[in-house]
Amino acid sequence: MDLHLDPEDLAFRDAVRRFLDENLLPATRRATALTTGFINDPEVAVVFHRALHRKGWSVPHWPEKYGGTGWTQVQRYLFEAECARAGAPIYNGAGSNMIGPVLMRFGTDEQKKKYLPRIVSGEDCWAQGYSEPGSGSDLASLRTRAVRDGEHYVINGQKIWTTHAHKSNRLFALVRTSTEGKKQEGITFLMMDTGLPGITVRPIIGNGGDHEFNEVFFDDVRAPVAGRVSEENMGWEVAKYLLEFERGGNPVAGRVRAQFARLATLIGKKCPGDADIVARLGELGTDLDAMEMIELTAVSALQTGGNPGPVSSLLKLRWSQLRQQLAELAMDAVGVEALRWIAARPLYDTLQLPADEEQMLSVMPRYLNYRAYTILGGTSEIQTGILARSLLGL
């Protein structure tokens, strides 16, 4: 057992660094650093995505035949870490981490041919329509109805928490096509364009002032049956597969590490001699080291063809807490100045200040938005319940 990077890995890492030096624009880095929401604005991220695409690196974790790189798990890990360290944005995870893998598994040849290349190139931007006002943690209780009418489904109902629905041209959704049997048994997985008549998007503004989420209303929307993934009423199986990807998915240690490093820099500038703040930074650093080790262990297991076991819920639970705590410590390090509020978004358009001052103004919105980390994508309570079963046999 060892933690060494072998010469090939080091050469790979250096190649990634060179690529980032040359292709990640300062304006993109700044916009990413001043992003206060969860995910990067597609219009910012797509610029970098295109550069990756030119290099053939836009979907490294995909099979090579669909545009992936064939990298080892360790290389993927290093790539993610280097991108995060350099301050690179992520473009439309709903495309490359959700619908893409779903189509590879469940899609028809036609669907794959139509959609996958446009994810690879960044032409399509996807949104996810899962939750409904009455169906959050209890997703399977969803009620948005789809009734077959010839070659269309006619959809009526409502989705909520649809991230970037207002910036996406495509949408996938779970809809109810049957009310018979168990609630999981009448669900269908549908893809459609967001521009279809009858679709209305209403913004939901987060506590941090950002517009990332939406309600999406469906009023007699006619979506082609060709957009159905898997069979009618078989959507729950698709949804579960997708959730696994959402929870496990890409290694995130690099992202959290980058957040941590930015915080260390902030503290070094703002309050380097504050023993209490520095001690909290230290505690979070030890948490981060431990979690990164857990993630690396899973990577190593995958690398050698093993099974990482039920760690995805543990990772989701703790990474989300840790990101919140880092945002919280940043707020505490800034102190009373963190109360100054800029309402306009995005900050990278609004602000024209020295970089340090700009960072300070992003601290409070980020703290507020990040409270959702332990809620979205499966609340901490849900993850804890899963862990009670999977880790403790309770």
Binding site: S131, G134, G136, S137, D138, S141, I160, W161, I204, I205, G206, N207, F213, D276, M331, D332, G335, V336, A338, L339, R340, W341, A343, M364, Y367, L368, N369, R371, A372, T374, I375, L376, T379, S380, E381, T384
Partner: protein, 381 residues
């Protein structure tokens, strides 16, 4: 020792709660906080009509003669309803300083219009890397330096400012906002209230602007700021109370997996923790409120202790409330986020939770003080 509210006090709570529930709902809050001045003149004149603007002042000043307990009752109601009007900055800080330090003439010229709702004050006390100094120049003073985080300054007609005199003493001046050379740079805060940075670019002010003549104002400033902190504690308790109540209510109505989520034991336990913190915060606030009249050491211990304790409780409560509301709690669709922001402002203003914890810890480390309970001998105050 008596810790029972009087009938009058209970009536004040009830009438404040009723008025605000009817006139200051979340929609009004959003309108007011989103608007330019950041507070409502109409609401302010209602406050004047109820006598609230004169609540803490002596009757001979035209006030009601209320004490810290009455102020706390009002502030708790303000916290509960997210009131943005500049009561703390104008009445407690501004008016409080005028009453404590002002000459009779100053009191007579400033307090009645304040109480009638026609005059707004603000107190600039937070020094920056360029602290405010005042230098005698004939019959004038030259005031220079910068203050920040001046609550309520954007709407204030007169600015009170603390300034270091040459001899180690501190004075307070009162300046019209139109004073030439005075620059007020307003900004909104996260919770919707307004503050400003103020540059005193070598402003020349007459001797008459000196509040209460040439005495050292440091003790009075400390006392007034402590009373403002105690009042802010009550505001925070109000906000926490609202958050806890709303969370319990929400979990009783939010159904998942076929039952209200309030049925889940893990959530029940978390809500009990929230409620216990609310109760502790309320008790802590009461201790600070009742200690304002006590000896200086008791006052400092109680006020800093309360600021720190309530800050810790507030942090835990706002985080838990958001978590238990799920995704909807992270948006501005409900008032929940506005309460969270108000509690964050509470934590940071007038010294952070950590600042006050340090002040409290230094006091309480003395074993003699550590051993002393909360009750005190009035003769020593």
């Amino acid at each position: 020792m008596d810790l029972q509210y009087t009938t009058e006090q209970k009536l004040l709570r009830e009438s404040a709660g009723k008025f605000l529930a009817a006139s200051y709902d979340y929609t009004s809050f959003q309108k007011i906080s989103g608007g330019e001045p950041g507070w409502s003149a109409a609401i302010w004149s209602e406050f004047a009509r109820f006598g609230w603007l004169g609540l803490p002042f002596a009757e001979e000043q035209g006030g009601i003669g209320g004490g810290p307990v009455e102020v706390a009752i009002l502030m708790e109601a303000f916290g509960k309803s997210l009131v943005l009007e500049p009561y703390l900055s104008s009445v407690i800080l501004g008016g409080g300083l005028v009453e404590a330090l002002g000459s009779q003439q100053q009191r007579e010229s400033l307090l009645p219009p304040l109480i009638e709702g026609k005059l707004l004050l603000a107190f600039a006390y937070q020094d920056t890397s360029s602290p405010v100094k005042a230098q005698r120049n004939g019959s004038n003073y030259v005031v220079s330096g910068t203050k920040n985080t001046v609550l309520g300054a954007p709407g204030a007609h007169q600015i009170l400012v603390s300034a270091a005199l040459g001899d180690g003493a501190t004075a307070v001046f009162v300046l019209p906002r139109s004073t030439p050379g005075l620059t007020i740079r307003p900004y909104p805060m996260v919770h919707g209230a307004r503050a400003a940075d103020i540059d005193f670019g070598a402003v020349v002010v007459p001797e008459a602007a000196l509040l209460g003549g040439n005495q050292n104002a440091a003790d009075a400033i400390d006392r007034v700021i402590d009373s403002a902190i105690a009042a802010l504690c009550a505001d925070a308790v109000g906000a926490m109370t609202a958050m806890v109540a709303r969370t319990v209510e929400y979990t009783k109505t939010r159904v998942q997996f076929g039952q209200p989520v309030a049925k889940f034991q893990a959530l029940q336990h978390r809500m009990v923790e929230m409620k216990v913190r609310e109760e502790e915060a309320r008790a802590s606030c009461l201790f600070a409120t009742l200690s304002l009249a006590g000896p200086a050491a008791q006052r400092a211990r109680a006020v800093s202790g309360a600021k720190a304790k309530i800050g810790r409780c507030a942090r835990a409560v706002h985080q838990a409330a958001i978590q238990l509301h799920g995704a909807i709690g992270t948006t501005d669709e409900l008032s929940l986020g506005a309460y969270a922001k108000r509690l964050l402002a509470y934590e940071m203003l007038f010294g952070t939770t950590r600042d006050h914890l340090r002040r409290y810890a230094a006091i309480i480390s003395d074993p003699g003080i550590a051993a002393a309970g909360l009750l005190y001998d009035q003769a020593r105050s």
